[in-house]
Each structure stands twice: as C-alpha cells, then as structure tokens.
C-alpha cells in the first residue's frame, strides 16, 4: 500500500463544492440539444417526488419513444437555480418559489402542481401502544423545548388512557436542507406565534432543540435507536417503513391520521384560498378530514418556451402527468391532486406558448 493511497481525504468535500460552484458559474451554457427526431427534455430539482417522476419518465417513454426525459433529483434549491439559469427545460421544487426568487428569474415561470405529500410525526416510546394524539400547540412546544417530559400534563390531556413515561423527550429533526423541514416549520409557524417569532419557516431553520439526522433515513435511524425520541419524516417514507405516526389535531378540531386521502382532502378544502398562480401553502387546512401538515410539490416551467418543438413535448408530458400520471401516485405513497386543482393546473399548462402561439 503506497503512501499516496492513504493521503487524507480532507479535500473531498471541498472538491465537491468547487465542482458545484463551477457548475453554477458556467450556467450560461445552452440546454441539451435536440436532433435525430428524438426530443430530449432535461429536468432537475426536488428529491421528494423523484420516485414518481422516474416512473412517469419510464411510462411516458413507452408511449412516446421519440421523447427522452432526463430528471435529476438534485434538490429543490438546485432545481430553482437551474431553471433560473435556463440550463434545464423544467425545474421541480417542493416549496413554491419566493417572490424574490421569481423576480430574479428571466421570464415568467409557472408553478404546475403534480402531486401532494405530507409530513408525519413519528416517535419511539416503548409504553405507547396506540397512536399518539398531538395538538398543534403541544407539538410546537415540544420542538421549541417548552414541553420537556413525555408525561407533561398537556400531552396527558390529549392522550387519556395512554401510559406516558416520566422520561425526557429527545427531539430529532432533519439536518440537511429539505422541503420536508420547510413544510413542517411552515405548519408550526402557522399554529404557534412563538415558533413564528423565534424560528420561522425554512428548509434548514435554526432549531431551538434536539439533534439533527441526515435525510429521512438518518432521522428514522436516530429515532429507532434512542428511546423516548420524537421526530418527523415524509409520509411515503413512514408508510414504507411502518413507522408509528401521530394523529394531529387539524384546524377544525379533529385528530386526523396521516393518509393519502387525508392529504388530498387538505388540498381540496384549501382550493378556494388557492391563488391564481397556484403558489400556496396548504398546511393547517380547515377541512374536517384534512391532514394539516400537507403540501404540494411543483414542476417549474417557463410560460414562453424558446424552442417550440421542445415546448410542445414538455406541455404534452405535463398534461399526461396530471391526468394519466396521477394513477401511479398512490402506489408510491403520494397523494393525487384533487379534481378542482387538476382543472386549474390544466389552465396553466394550456397557457404555455412559444413565440406567442399556444402549444396545445
């Protein structure tokens, strides 16, 4: 074994960073080219809907062999950067883009909702055998560090008949920047003014309490390995791994179990307040059966497509996605769009033009 193979790897994260910096710096380059009768669409963004988008890409490819779609799940932040720099044909983001981000974008970007997801509160307390019930204020106080013991009077009040131990609560949150954290903190900001003032809504906020785990798997690992922990993960991840899930009291006072139908219900009941550009937070939705920590995930596309041929392919793909594509959502633990939002997304897709001409 030579010395050089043992040389420390201190440079690795820096190298990754530098490459990423260069990638951003060189983002003036043009997008992937078309040719030979095959149209290639390049997309990049959120990791959360990646399994669904990969399924869409493969299913759509079977129906339209001349269209090749390449989706890279590099994270919502990267997706926004890339679509702003016009290096991809479509971006994807869990959280809607901010007004500031939209202002920094060359051209009008549309938010097309594709499916919905939810954030599940999971825990590891040996003596809790029935699902835990949580009021929003108690949940916020646990993550603020105000409620420190499992046998706190307010937890007892929501959970009569459950044997809560006299143990310290260990909070686990996501350490990596994540749409999951965004949705969760968005919900807590709505239900707790203290949370809103002290912490706020962000993909990686300054957590007042607890440990950070990397990714859903990191959070789950830390919860499973330590007794008396509480944390949050994506609904799909919680279902696939059969994690215990707390029932959350929604805005109409009902404790709701996280499920695909309860998430779609949250979107449906919020549709009246959904603005025209479809950028909306549906956490703390008022519907009776709505699960309150739910959110859309979006595909981002320019309203004016520079290349008519590629624009047409993108529009057809999006149209197929929100109609035929929705059938694949439930199997992969995503909630399909409610009918009224599909209608509004259709209008968005129909408004996409190239050189002033509609593409559909």
């Amino acid at each position: 074994m030579s010395l050089s193979t043992k040389v420390a790897r201190a440079g690795t994260p820096i190298a990754v960073l530098v490459i990423a910096v260069f990638a951003f710096a060189c983002s003036g380059a043009s997008g992937p080219s078309t040719g030979g009768g095959t149209i290639t669409l390049q997309g990049a963004g959120a990791t959360f809907p990646n399994p669904l988008y990969q399924k869409w890409v493969s299913e759509y490819g079977k129906l339209h062999p001349n269209v090749r779609i390449d989706y890279q799940s590099i994270g919502s932040g990267g997706g926004i950067k890339q679509i702003q720099a016009q290096t991809v044909d479509f971006g994807a983001s869990d959280a809607p883009m901010s007004d500031a981000d939209l202002k920094a974008t060359p051209g009008e970007l549309l938010h097309i909702p594709t499916v919905l997801g939810a954030v599940v509160v999971t825990y590891n307390v040996a003596s809790i055998t029935q699902p835990l019930h949580l009021s929003p204020e108690v949940l916020a106080d646990i993550f603020l560090g105000n409620v420190k013991k499992w046998d706190d009077a307010r937890l007892k009040q929501d959970n009569p008949g459950i044997n809560l131990p006299a143990a310290d609560i260990t909070v686990v949150h996501r350490a990596d920047g994540s749409g999951t954290s965004y949705v969760f903190t968005d919900y807590l900001s709505k239900v707790s003014t203290e949370w809103k003032d002290k912490v706020g809504t962000d993909k990686s906020p300054k957590w007042p309490e607890g440990q950070g785990g990397k990714g859903n798997e990191g959070v789950t690992g830390q919860i499973k390995q330590q007794p008396n922990t509480i944390g949050y993960v994506e609904l799909a991840y919680a279902v696939q791994n059969k994690l215990p899930a707390a029932l959350i009291k929604n805005a109409s006072g009902k404790f709701v179990e996280p499920s695909i139908d309860a998430v779609t219900a949250a979107a449906a009941s919020a549709s009246a307040q959904t603005p025209d550009d479809l950028r909306v937070s549906i956490t703390n939705s008022a519907g009776e059966n709505a699960y309150p920590i739910s959110s859309y995930t979006y595909i981002l596309a320019y309203k004016d497509q520079k290349n008519a041929e590629k624009g047409k392919a993108l529009v057809d793909f999006l149209w197929w996605g929100i109609h035929d594509g929705e059938q694949f959502a439930k199997d992969l633990q995503y909630a399909p769009l409610p009918a009224e939002i599909v209608k509004r997304a259709e209008a968005k897709i129909n408004s996409i033009t190239s050189g002033g001409k509609p593409l559909r």
Binding site: M1, L3, K6, V7, A8, R9, A10, G11, T12, P13, I14, A15, V16, L17, V18, A20, V21, F22, A25, I74, G75, S76, G77, G78, I80, K81, D101, D168, T170, A175, D176, G177, S178, G179, V199, G200, T201, D202, K203, S204, P205, K206, W207, G210, Q211, G212, G213, K214, G218, G221, Q222, Q225, Q226
Partner: protein, 328 residues
C-alpha cells in the same frame, strides 16, 4: 523531432532541447515535459480551487467580515451566519479521534513489526488495510445502529457516574453527539495511521535493532530505539490521519447530532464544517446563504492547509534534532 542525437540542430532547437533535457535525448525531453505539465496542473488546480472559493465567498466576507469566524449564530431564516460552532466541532471531534487512535495505532504497528510472528502479522496487516478501504457511509450506518446504542447503554452512563463532575461528561445521555463523532473518526483513522506507522517502523534498518540488542537492551528498550528513529514518519502518519478526520463528512454527519452550538459537554450534539456543507448546500437558494457555505469551504481548506504546514514544520524539526543527536 526525429533528428538523430548529436545531428545538426538549429540554434533555437538547441536551446529549447537543452532546457528540457540536459542530456539532449528526445525521449528524456518528452518525459521531462510530461512530468512538468503534471506537476504544474496540480498547482493550477489548487490555485483555481482557492480562487473559486474566495470569489464565491466574497458576498459573505463583505457582509460579515471577521465576525464570521467568531459568531455562533447560524440562522438561514434571518440570514445570519457564523462559523464558530462548526470550527469548534471540527477541531474537537478530530482531537478526540487522535487522542484515541494515536496510541492504538502505535500499539498495532509496534506489535505487527516488532512482536508478531510472520504468519499472524500478514493477515492482520491485510485486515487493517481493508478497514481503511471501507466507505465512510458504511461507518456512519454502523455508527447509528451499533456504536451509538452501545455508547448510550454501556459507556456514557459509567462515564457520567464516575467523571460527571467534569463539564465534559454532563448533560443528557443519548448516544449521539461529539463523543460518538470523535470515536467513529478514531475508528476510521486508526487503519490509516497504523498502516503508515507500520511501513515507517519496517523501514528502520535492522542493524539498529541488532545494535541495541547487542548492547544488552531489552525488547522494550529496543522498540524505543526504533520508535525514535521512526519519529518523523510517525508524525507524518498522525497528520495524515488528522487530515482525514478533519475532512470526513458522511460518517460524522450520521452520529454527531448536527446542531450548530458550542457546549463543553462531549455528550451534546455538535456539527462539523464538512457536515454542514454537505447537509445544506443542495437546498441553499439565497446568494448570501450559498456564499456563507462556500466561505465555510474556504475555512476548511485553510484549516487543512495550516494543519499540514504545522505537520511539515514538526517533522522537519524532529528530523533536524535527530540528525543533530546523531552527529554529537
């Protein structure tokens, strides 16, 4: 360039060739040129990295200045960024790693070179070098599922019971935190340090041992002579290990708790520079946030640079002192 050697050359050609190859051989000239380009490329890459990092961290440097290094506030929501908790976490976790792994590695290497029978030394050496090749994410998973619960149940409670009066061992026992991060790093750098130290000790001439033994030295005294001879190499090995510990990302991220705060307790969550970059870079959208992360990268680069420089000086000093002793 297919002239025969020693044939006619134009004046320009002579100069150029002579510069590349004093012997005047074309093959030598080409070889020398290639080597020079390789070396130059390396220097250029390092230079380009520093330049790119510095350029991209300018917004953050301008906004926070020196305060960036002394502030503990890391809050993307409020656009306030300070690097101190990450610098602290990086240095302390690496120090814990060295405190544990250096004596262990020395022991392993001395055993393999000085004591172990050949039939045992070979497979053990192979296993240790195999450990060095395990991907760090595997160490991380093992850390979460095996090491952290083990520490929580069997190591941290007795530590707190006997040494709880020290601020180092106060606080809640969770199995996740600075201590666990340091221990996982120790396990990761031990194969590297011990493999290099083994090579270093094996390179100490046998005549040294024979001389010591001939003078009536015991096995332990002989080993001391060997260690003194190998000291510069051993120091180099420790620095290699430290370099790896400072830059390690995945495994530490999974067990250190990832919380940007400074606490005297080793049981508390902490955060390292490499971890926060890996965790937050993909989802950072605001320019200042991105710039602060890049500046962290620049700091990591500089820390690594300084550590390596210190190592050079150390090794250099030891070598000089040794040769001085030899001459006296």
């Amino acid at each position: 360039m297919d002239q025969p050697i020693g044939g006619r050359r134009s004046p320009l050609n002579v100069n150029w060739k002579h510069l590349l190859s004093p012997t005047g051989n074309t093959g030598d000239a080409v070889f020398r040129g290639l080597l020079f380009i390789s070396a130059l490329l390396m220097v250029l890459i390092v230079g380009a990295m520093i330049l790119a990092l510095a350029a991209k961290s300018m917004p953050s440097i301008r906004q926070f200045g020196f305060h960036f290094l002394t502030s503990s506030e890391w809050n993307p929501v409020k656009n306030e960024f300070g690097a101190l908790p990450f610098i602290y976490g990086t240095i302390v976790s690496s120090l814990i790693a060295l405190v544990i792994s250096v004596p262990l590695s020395l022991g392993i290497a001395i055993f393999l070179v000085e004591q172990a029978p050949r039939q045992l030394a070979r497979p053990v050496t192979f296993l240790i070098e195999l450990l060095a090749a395990i991907p760090s994410v595997v160490y991380g998973l093992w850390g979460i599922f095996v090491l952290a619960p083990f520490l929580r149940i069997h190591v941290e409670p007795p530590l707190q019971h006997w040494l709880g009066w020290l601020p180092l061992f106060k606080g809640p026992i969770t199995g996740i935190g600075l201590l666990t991060g340091g221990i996982i790093l120790a396990i990761m750098v031990t194969p590297i340090i011990s493999a290099v130290v083994r090579d270093v000790l094996a390179a100490v001439p046998g005549s040294q041992r024979e001389a010591a033994l001939a003078l009536g030295a015991t096995k332990w005294e002989t080993t001391r002579v060997v260690l003194v001879n190998g000291a510069p190499g051993i120091a180099g090995a420790v620095i290699l290990g430290l370099g790896r510990a400072i830059g390690e990302t995945m495994a530490v991220t999974m067990v250190i708790g990832n919380r940007a705060h400074i606490s005297a307790s080793l049981f508390e969550s902490s955060y390292t520079i490499a971890s926060v970059i890996a965790n937050e870079f993909t989802e950072a959208t605001q320019d200042l946030y991105l710039s602060a992360l890049v500046e962290l990268g620049l700091i990591l680069f500089l820390v690594t640079f300084v550590v390596n420089a210190i190592a050079r000086v150390l090794v250099w000093n030891v070598t000089r002192k040794m040769s001085g002793v030899g001459n006296a």
